[in-house]
């Protein structure tokens, strides 16, 4: 830590800080306009009746309905299921990408990124073609005699999860890959020279050092997954109804903006809770890794 004593330098630093702050003003303005105002509007809407009078009735109605809670459970199941699949599939993939030569890694990365550039609607309907009863996968399974009957791969929870994991995996992979690539190879060599097995290297060097990336990836996945609408709507066959489809139903069939706003706020609260939990978990892990060498 350097302490600036010269008043002229200090004034300079202050001016610089102010300048950088002013650079961020347009972005802050847009965020304020495009994110905060609509949220305030939704909060206001959640306290209004259809006639525009103040009420807490929307909250009573939504929170006392079993449909809300079953939608909440479905939302959590889908989000955590997607996250678990992303961690299990994405972490080894990131590890593999980080350990091959940069040129090969770039080519492989392009394959991973390719789906990101495709419209989500196209990808979702693509899965429909692959997973349905007479789709490619079932045709291959029954044709080769592996299964006698086509498997129910779509229009259910499984299909929804497949579609969601496919969408989220690249988003999870990016920060994890970045974190793993930045690990100093000398640390791994040092661990190996001290007799650590591959498993020990992964557990004590690579995973702790890439924890930040895994947490960032997890947060991105959860942010997307909690509000996911298209994939459950198309691949869920009407049987997978998270909060997002509940909001749609409340708006389109009931035209109940108040209740829909309450559901939206519920999503927001859920996101905040998960964010806090993840940050707390991250701090715990960080403490453990700092303490580890002393143990």
């Amino acid at each position: 830590m350097t302490v600036v004593r010269d008043p002229a330098l200090a004034a300079d630093a202050r001016r610089e800080r102010r300048f950088f702050l002013s650079l961020s003003l347009p972005a802050l303005f847009i965020v304020g306009l495009a994110a905060i105002l609509p949220i305030l509007w939704i909060i206001r809407q959640s306290f209004l009746t259809t006639a525009g009078e103040y009420t807490v009735g929307n909250y009573q109605k939504v929170l006392s309905s079993g449909l809300t809670w079953s939608a909440l459970v479905t939302t959590l199941e889908l989000s955590l299921g997607t996250l678990a699949a992303c961690i299990l599939l994405g972490t080894p993939l990131a590890l593999a990408l980080a350990s091959v030569r940069p040129r090969v890694a770039n080519v492989l990365m392009a394959f991973v990124m390719l789906p990101l550039w495709t419209s989500i609607l196209v990808r979702t309907y693509g899965w429909l073609v692959l997973l349905r009863r007479d789709g490619l996968i079932n045709a291959a399974l029954t044709g080769s005699g592996l299964t006698a009957e086509p498997l129910p791969l779509v229009y259910n929870f499984t299909g929804t999860l497949i579609g969601m994991v496919h969408y989220m995996l690249p988003l999870f992979l990016l920060p994890v890959y970045a974190a793993m690539r930045d690990i100093d190879p000398n640390l791994i060599r040092a661990a190996a020279s001290m007799g650590a097995t591959l498993r020990q290297v992964i557990r004590t060097v690579i995973l702790p050092l890439s924890a930040g990336g895994i947490f960032s990836g997890s947060i991105i996945v959860l942010i997307y997954a909690i509000g996911f609408f298209i994939t459950p709507a198309v691949l869920g066959g009407g049987k997978v109804n998270p909060l997002s489809t509940r909001i749609e139903r409340t708006l389109s069939t009931f035209q109940d903006w108040g209740s829909a706003s309450v559901l939206g706020i519920l999503l927001l609260v859920l996101m905040a809770l998960i964010g806090v939990m993840l940050l707390a978990a991250r701090r715990l892990v960080a403490q453990n890794t700092v303490e580890a060498p002393h143990a």
Binding site: T50, S65, G66, L67, S70, A71, R132, R133, D134, P152, Y155, A233, G237, G238, K239, N241, R249, L251, S252, T253, F254, Q255
Partner: protein, 346 residues
């Protein structure tokens, strides 16, 4: 010099254009249906009236209507809705009253009349099946549709209480004429919901759009599909292994309304009157199998004989049908849909 020439040209062009070309905006459901309405109905009507008609397409008319009227930014003059939604919109004062001085009041049969949303065509919610699965022996009644022991196979139903609860009661032996009186009792609604819950394990897909139901039927993803007759007919006509029956269909109507505060109210009424002339609603059946509500459209051979068979309202088809009751749906729709959703979540 050139500046003068440009302004002269501009003046000449503007003088050549009609000064008061009336612009009207119509909102339809789009797709094949929206296209059919354009070709048969509002396209020719706009030409006749000299209107410049702009089309907007939306799959969820009522939600959009509410958004426009509540926010005070009404951009559409004529909106296409299902009649239950039309009645709901009227109850929420989202529609202007129809001007029956401009629109011919005699063009709607007494039972279908509405002060706010003009019913112009009708469709049947029907039973359709895969002909490869059932060959010559498909289920013939709703009771057989529910008989999963006799007719195994994957069902697809609409993820909506509308028409589904009526059909559930028909399958349970309620006569078409008694459906709404039974539904109006609390036990009646419960009976319908229980009936749906009984078949739920055999429902492979709960569909959310008409196009999706047609796809399920066409791909053989489901063997038995409850869908709209126009959709089933299109799959059949396209060579899909599918057929359907009008027996026990639920007949509903679609209607045209004018949003409250529409920018061109009077022109909108005139457009509705012109686009629903008997010849034009009869012509609609050239493109999609949705029959006119106006009895005059069935006269004078406006609709070819063989096509009548594909319309839900044709006398030979409508004998065993239930006519969807918009009033009932306005009053009980939310409770029915909630009970339906709770059944789905169980």
């Amino acid at each position: 010099m050139s500046w003068l020439r440009i302004s002269l040209t501009a003046f000449a062009i503007s003088a050549a254009l009609p000064v008061h070309a009336q612009t009207v905006t119509i909102t339809t459901a789009g797709g094949d249906y929206g296209n059919a309405m354009k070709e048969a109905m509002w396209g020719p009507a706009a030409k006749e009236l000299g209107y410049d008609v702009r089309e907007e397409t939306l799959s969820d008319g009522l939600a959009a209507l509410k958004m426009q009227v509540t926010s005070g930014a009404v951009t559409t003059d004529v909106i296409h809705l299902g009649s239950p939604e039309g009645a709901q919109a009227a109850a929420q004062s989202l529609l202007e009253p129809l001007d029956y001085k401009i629109i011919d009041p005699k063009s709607v049969p007494e039972g279908a009349k509405s002060d706010y949303c003009y019913p112009f065509d009708s469709y049947g919610t029907v039973m359709s099946w895969n002909t490869k699965t059932y060959g010559q022996n498909p289920p013939k009644t709703w009771a057989e549709f529910w008989d999963v022991a006799k007719f195994s196979g994957r069902r697809a139903l609409r993820a909506n209480a509308q028409d589904s609860i009526e059909i559930a009661l028909l399958s349970d032996g309620v006569a078409p004429a008694d459906v709404y009186s039974v539904l109006s009792t609390p036990e009646g609604l419960e009976r319908a919901i229980n009936r749906l819950e009984a078949i739920k394990p055999n429902v492979a897909v709960w569909w959310t759009s008409g196009a999706q139901s047609a796809q399920l039927l066409k791909d053989g993803e489901a063997d038995l599909v409850i869908t709209w007759n126009g959709r089933a007919q299109t799959v059949k006509a396209d060579g899909g292994a599918a057929d359907y029956t009008f027996k026990g269909s639920v007949i509903g109507t679609d209607c045209l309304g004018v949003p409250k505060g529409a920018p061109n109210k009077e022109a909108a009424m005139k457009l509705i009157a012109a686009m629903t002339q008997p010849a034009r609603v009869a012509k609609l059946t050239d493109f999609i199998a949705y029959g006119p509500v106006n009895p005059a459209a069935y006269e004078g051979g406006l609709i070819p004989e063989d096509r009548l068979k594909t319309l839900a309202t044709a006398p030979e088809n409508a004998g065993t049908s239930v006519f969807s009751n918009s009033e009932w749906w306005v009053k009980n729709g939310e409770a029915a849909q909630r009970a339906f959703d709770e059944m789905m979540a169980r």
